[in-house]
């Protein structure tokens, strides 16, 4: 029973000088539980008792200040800590971190370098140095530091930062390399998986993209970015219902996402529910009025709905935001053709051809218009231009062309050579009525009284129909095609980056 005597002697000395670290454990436990109020109470008590000498209490107080957004105050407290124990790298690290958060990257680098002198094997110092250099745009140094950090200890965060540098430098391949290594190291990190998936998508390696996005979704079925990207891939394959089911999750989590409503709209478009499509796209447009892709899709759907006046407005708005895209001008031309303004339509086509050097569709549509206007020479020139582009595309890639486009091209070719409208009107009717949407079926019914004028109308509406093709891809979706056929010659390559970039910008 030595208990009591010892206890009393202990309390006697304790009154003289309390142990500084007496309640550090309690401060820490409250801190990691995020119970900051209780934590602050203990810190206050502890600092009073020790007359401000308890370093850890100051340290945690500074951490809490920083979490609460009082970065300047946290910086001052960390500096106090650094004075209390100058040999501790941790304090310097926190000083640097606060400097970094205040945007003083150069000062942060200096302090980190000092901390690195005290502790050479800390990945965190190297990592944060790297991040500071990124903000200073010194990518070489940043890479060096991040690689150092990886060398000391591998962390997902370091991989992400390295990948970001490569993306900032525009080096997709290197970024993919880094993310591949990262996924190998940490196969369940959904952020890494999603980013890698999106990068593959951007490069058009769909199999791998889908694989990684799918993995991300298995680990986190509510991952916003992965769902959007995977959904858009499903849409290009025509799985609109599956994509819509996936989108429901996002619609619940992020109900105000413009790309989401754009994609949902294009799903409905693919399912031929045009009114729903327009509703969704208009919501997307409301949420992001300056996004030309949404305007593009709106124009497209309105073209399909034969609302050419509205289509014209949306397309011209899209052109205002994105004046460098040939397909937009082509769609505008189609709208103008239908609004009986061939002069402006021709100018739009000319602009489209000037901007778009490899899409044969532009030339074909233009040729049809010229032919219908009776300008056979011009039509022939455009036709030949189109053939050139087709050959070029065939040489460079094994893409198959849309059957309808080929069909139309053949008919136009025949018409141009023979010079008789009658020769190609008949087969047109057959192919048309099979799977044309509202716009064309109406035109087909008009075709009954044969004559050159009707034939012209026919050709025009078919041109309108073709107009849809690239955008189907460009926007988000496509209609009625089996998923195995890679249909669109050029747009496919361009369409998906749109998708991906839309997602990436969301970050």
């Amino acid at each position: 029973m030595i208990w009591d005597t010892r206890n009393s002697t202990y309390t006697f000395t304790a009154q003289e000088f309390p142990i500084l670290e007496k309640q550090n454990w309690l401060i820490h436990l409250h801190y990691i539980r995020k119970d900051y109020e209780a934590c602050k109470a203990v810190i206050k008590e502890q600092l009073q008792e020790t007359q401000g000498l308890c370093e850890y209490a100051i340290y945690v107080q500074a951490l809490i200040f920083r979490l609460e957004g009082n970065i300047q105050e946290s910086l001052e407290l960390f500096q106090t800590c650094a004075v209390l124990s100058p040999q501790c790298a941790d304090n310097l690290k926190q000083v640097a971190r606060s400097l970094f958060l205040l945007g003083k990257h150069k000062a942060a680098i200096e302090v980190y370098n000092e901390a690195a002198k005290l502790n050479q094997t800390d990945w965190e110092i190297c990592h944060n140095l790297g991040v500071c250099y990124i903000y200073l745009k010194q990518f070489k140094k940043a890479q060096e530091q991040l690689h150092n950090a990886l060398h000391l200890n591998r962390h997902d965060l370091t991989y992400i930062m390295l990948g970001k540098i490569h993306l900032l430098e525009g080096d997709l391949d290197k970024a993919i390399e880094i993310y591949k290594k990262a996924v190998e190291f940490s196969p369940e990190n959904t952020e890494l998986l999603t980013t890698l998936g999106l990068l593959y998508l951007q490069l058009g390696i769909y199999q791998k993209a889908f694989e990684h996005l799918g993995n991300a979704l298995t680990y986190d079925p509510t991952n916003y970015k992965a769902i959007l990207a995977a959904g858009s891939m499903m849409q290009t394959h025509g799985d609109f219902d599956v994509a819509l089911t996936k989108y429901r999750v996002v619609a619940c989590a992020v109900p105000e996402s413009p790309p989401l409503w754009n994609n949902i709209g294009m799903c409905f478009f693919g399912k031929k529910k045009y009114v729903a499509a327009i509703s969704c796209l208009k919501r997307a447009n409301y949420l992001a009025p300056f996004d030309w892709k949404i305007l593009y899709n709106l124009g497209l759907v309105h073209l399909t709905m034969q609302q050419y006046a509205s289509a014209f407005h949306f397309l011209s708005a899209a052109i205002n935001f994105q004046p460098k895209m040939g397909e937009l001008y082509m769609l505008l031309a189609v709208a103008l053709t239908n609004l009986e303004d061939p002069e402006n339509a021709k100018r739009a086509y000319a602009e489209a051809i000037r901007l778009d050097k490899c899409n044969p569709l532009v030339n074909l549509n233009y040729a049809v218009l010229l032919y219908n206007q009776g300008e056979k020479q011009g039509a022939l020139a455009q036709y030949q231009e189109m053939e050139k582009k087709v050959h070029l595309l065939q040489d460079s890639s094994s893409l198959e062309f849309d059957a309808e486009m080929v069909d139309m091209a053949q008919k136009l070719g025949a018409a141009l050579q023979v010079g008789e409208a009658l020769v190609w009107t008949k087969p047109v009717k057959d192919t048309k009525s099979k799977h044309r949407t509202t716009s064309t079926s109406k035109a087909a019914s008009l075709q009954q009284p044969l004559g050159s004028n009707q034939a012209l109308g026919q050709a025009m509406s078919s041109a309108a129909a073709y107009g849809k093709l690239p955008s189907g891809a460009g926007g988000t979706s496509h209609l009625t095609k089996p998923p195995s056929l890679p249909l669109e010659p050029q747009p496919t390559v361009e369409a998906h980056p749109n998708e991906a970039s839309a997602q990436i910008r969301e970050k």
């Binding site: 029973m1 030595i2 208990w3 010892r6 206890n7 202990y10 000088f17 142990i19 670290e21 007496k22 309640q23 550090n24 454990w25 309690l26 820490h28 436990l29 990691i32 539980r33 995020k34 119970d35 401000g52 000498l53 124990s85 100058p86 990945w123 965190e124 962390h155 965060l157 940490s186 369940e188 990190n189 986190d220 079925p221 509510t222 819509l244 089911t245 996936k246 989108y247 429901r248 999750v249 619609a251 619940c252 989590a253 109900p255 949902i264 409905f268 009114v275 729903a276 509703s279 208009k282 709905m305 034969q306 609302q307 050419y308 006046a309 509205s310 014209f312 239908n338 609004l339 009986e340």
Partner: protein, 525 residues
């Protein structure tokens, strides 16, 4: 069902919590019996300060709580039997950890209770104070000692003493004592008095216990003699002999330990995992004075539990991570809310080991590896929990809440934890219908009208647009001619005139308003 069969009358609030209309809670209520719920039990503690043991050797297991008291003001040792507090005694300082362990082989084999608090471990037997172990004093810095010795003999004046001590603080490996640190803070005029008052004392450095656990001495049996393992503020781990209370082994860590987990036997082979304040987990083995492996979390650990051979760590990033005993990452599970506390659930009868995690959203989740077995919803966030034999019931879950409440649940004997007992399959949001905006009759009519007269609309619109532009231009020219145009005050902020046309609801330009406004304050350039 379980809510209805609950045996206690106090658990009204627990019942209502069980009736949440989601499937996991229904599932949970079928596995657990609500034995007791007291929202005002006034227990504020951590999982490390809870222990279950047969303290009197009568086969009736008691709950030992090292209670911090409300606001950490009145630390008490409480022993509960069933729902009632059996004994309650005040403690000299806040308890950091509580553990029960067998000290010797003699019959009756009643376990002793150890309570770590400040620099001491208080050992109780039969709930009576038995022994107090104090951490040994840390060796003072020899230079500092030397300086104070000189001061004692008045060979050094306070100012030089201060300078010298500051020099030591800047460089030395061994930190200064509290006495010296206090001295350094003093004003010049106070120094003399301070030195004369304290110079005769030997300088002391004392550290405190931050965490404690037990480690079997030489047998793996359930009721084998165990050593105490202490983690201290000066980054050391100590293993104490259970009988003599001498330090058997000392290991040092790079940071202050917060949570400990030990497996094996001290005399044979053991593995010690220590989660530290720098966010790292160090793994040590017998005969290793320094850590053998290191796990870097990049966040603070909030709990450390070993399930079979897997180390499960909860982090402040709201996730559970599984690691091998060599520190290789196995899996990660994301939690819906911050983790407050963690502990081991061990159901001996079925050989089940799982991790329980108390979350800030009032859930307690039970995981086996990364599969969710069960979710218990509680009326308040659970801040400490433990599972084991209580009273005469084998599988009892004891939880205390943030508000000081106590919840006791009993696992039904028929209950089997199966995978997918918690949430599985697609997220619930997937079943919700999409909120697609509806279109009105007016819209449909307008659409039809546009189809019929699209060209006319377009032309009207274009004509009107031209007219509008013309009118605007005319008005502008007129304003310029009659010198009515607004003039910018400074050259750096030129005025801009904008003409904007508003289309009305149908958007086809059938009706138009002209709005012309000037935009000032645009930065130049």
């Amino acid at each position: 069902m379980a809510a209805a069969s609950s045996s206690d009358s106090d658990c009204g609030r627990a019942e209502s919590a069980q009736l949440f209309p989601s499937s996991p809670s229904n599932e949970a209520s079928s596995k657990w019996l609500d034995a007791h719920y007291d929202p005002v039990a006034n227990i504020h503690t951590f999982s490390s300060c809870l222990a279950l043991a047969d303290l009197h050797g009568d086969g009736e297991y008691k709950l030992v709580v090292g209670d911090l008291g409300p606001g950490g003001q009145h630390p008490r040792l409480k022993v509960l039997k069933g729902p009632t507090v059996l004994t309650e005694s005040p403690l000299p300082a806040l308890p950091a950890a509580a553990a029960t362990f067998l000290m010797e082989q003699h019959e009756p084999r009643t376990p002793a209770l150890a309570l770590a608090s400040g620099p001491c471990v208080y050992v109780y037997k039969n709930l009576r104070p038995y022994f107090k172990f104090s951490l040994p004093q840390l060796p003072p810095n020899p230079l500092e000692q030397d300086l104070w010795n000189q001061a004692k003999e008045d060979r050094i004046d306070p100012l030089t003493l201060k300078e010298m001590l500051e020099g030591i603080r800047e460089k030395a490996e061994v930190p200064l004592s509290v006495q010296s640190l206090r001295f350094l803070q003093l004003e010049l005029r106070e120094m003399e008095a301070f030195v004369s008052q304290h110079k005769s004392k030997s300088i002391k450095r004392q550290t405190v216990i931050t965490t404690m656990t037990t480690l079997k001495k030489n047998l793996a049996d359930e009721d084998a003699v165990s050593c105490l393992v202490l983690g201290t503020e000066n980054k050391e781990l100590l293993v104490l002999d259970p009988e003599a209370f001498i330090i058997l082994a000392k290991m040092s860590l790079p940071s202050v330990p917060v949570f400990l987990d030990v497996s094996g036997q001290f005399d044979v082979e053991f593995r010690l995992a220590a989660a530290c304040r720098n966010g790292n987990i160090y793994i040590l083995r017998r005969d290793s004075k320094r850590p053998k492996y290191c796990i870097e979390l990049s966040a603070q650990p909030v709990g450390l539990v070993r399930v079979h051979k897997v180390l499960v760590v909860g982090s402040t990033q709201d996730s559970l991570h599984g690691f091998t005993h060599k520190g290789k990452k196995l899996w990660t599970v994301q939690m819906p809310a911050a983790i407050l506390t963690m502990n081991l659930l061990e159901q001996h009868s079925r050989g089940l080991q799982a991790v329980m995690a108390g979350l800030a959203n009032g859930e307690v989740r039970i995981y086996r590896d990364k599969t969710l077995l069960n979710v218990i919803r509680t009326p308040d966030a659970v801040t400490s929990l433990c599972f084991g034999r209580y009273g005469r019931e084998d599988n009892t879950l004891i939880m205390t809440t943030r508000g000081g409440g106590l919840i006791i649940k009993i696992l039904k004997r028929t209950a089997v934890f199966v995978e997918g007992g918690g949430e599985a399959g697609p997220p619930p949001a997937q079943a919700l219908k999409l909120n697609v905006p509806r279109k009105t009759r007016l819209y449909v009519d307008q659409t039809l009208r546009e189809r019929e007269a699209g060209t006319a609309m377009h032309r009207t619109f274009q004509t009107d647009l031209y007219l509008l532009r013309l009118r605007t231009a005319r008005a502008y020219v007129q304003a310029l001619e009659s010198s009515l145009n607004p003039v910018s005050v400074t050259a750096r902020e030129p005025l801009k005139l904008h003409a904007v046309d508003w289309r009305d609801s149908d958007g086809y330009g059938t009706r138009k308003k002209t709005v012309c406004f000037s935009n000032c304050g645009q930065p130049g350039g």
